[in-house]
Symmetry: C2
Subunit: 128 residues, 2 copies
Amino acid sequence: MNIGDVAERSGLPAKTIRYYEDIGFIKPRRGANGYRHFDEKELHKLAFIGRARSLGFTIEDCRTLLALYEDKHRASADVKRIAKQNLKEIDAKIADLKAMRATLSHLVAECAGDDRPDCPILNDLGRV
Amino acid sequence: MNIGDVAERSGLPAKTIRYYEDIGFIKPRRGANGYRHFDEKELHKLAFIGRARSLGFTIEDCRTLLALYEDKHRASADVKRIAKQNLKEIDAKIADLKAMRATLSHLVAECAGDDRPDCPILNDLGRV
DNA sequence: TCTTGACCTTCCACCTGCTGGAACCCTTAT
DNA sequence: ATAAGGGTTCCAGCAGGTGGAAGGTCAAGA
């Protein structure tokens, strides 16, 4: 497979795949013309990374997960620990966003939203 | 006030305040020794930006809000429109995170988390 | 008066995770 | 022969800062 095929099948842009090679996730062979040549295993790895990224794992998380993925002797406990940590971070982000949302929607509700210059949103933002 | 005082009172790191000067948010006077010298008005502006940033407004949003903040003739409708747009984006982010959370917590629940190498989390991530 | 330590300055590089573009080579069909 | 549509490299840049080096300045204590 060329990079375009892998891009289509994995759902990742070709640019991103080249970047993932750069940072050492994959090492595709090269044809005589210099083209990258991918096998099914690399496709799976890329799909793996893509899904992990879309679940909010960082690149460094992916590195760890990938090592575990490739290690037939690893314990599922390791993986679960990382996933749980990730879950905690997601929960923290959701809580942050909800707090923001509450403050902002309160301000929006108080703002007349008309032609007058008086605006509770700006007044509140300017408090020191 | 020197930058350290403003940093403490505004809650922003000194580095960030210098950066905000760089991108044109403030233009503090300079003393004979080259030190930045801030007045209350600039402190307010920095506090304003800090709060707006913490509510998820981008730097460009801040630029607009700051212009409105300083314009005594602006209508509150302009401000409300920007805030509402921001609210929509926050909602979208929350929805995304919740979807991630659901998938991940499902995987975590299915994983035995013991010494065995079989792990549903990795199996699922590896699907193409 | 000297020295120490806490401030302040500038500048440059780096972080995450890509993405865009330029300039170029290779393949395939017409 | 040529044009379209692959592929390659490298360089620059996005947001929004952060870290560090190398140096100037100020105030207090011995």
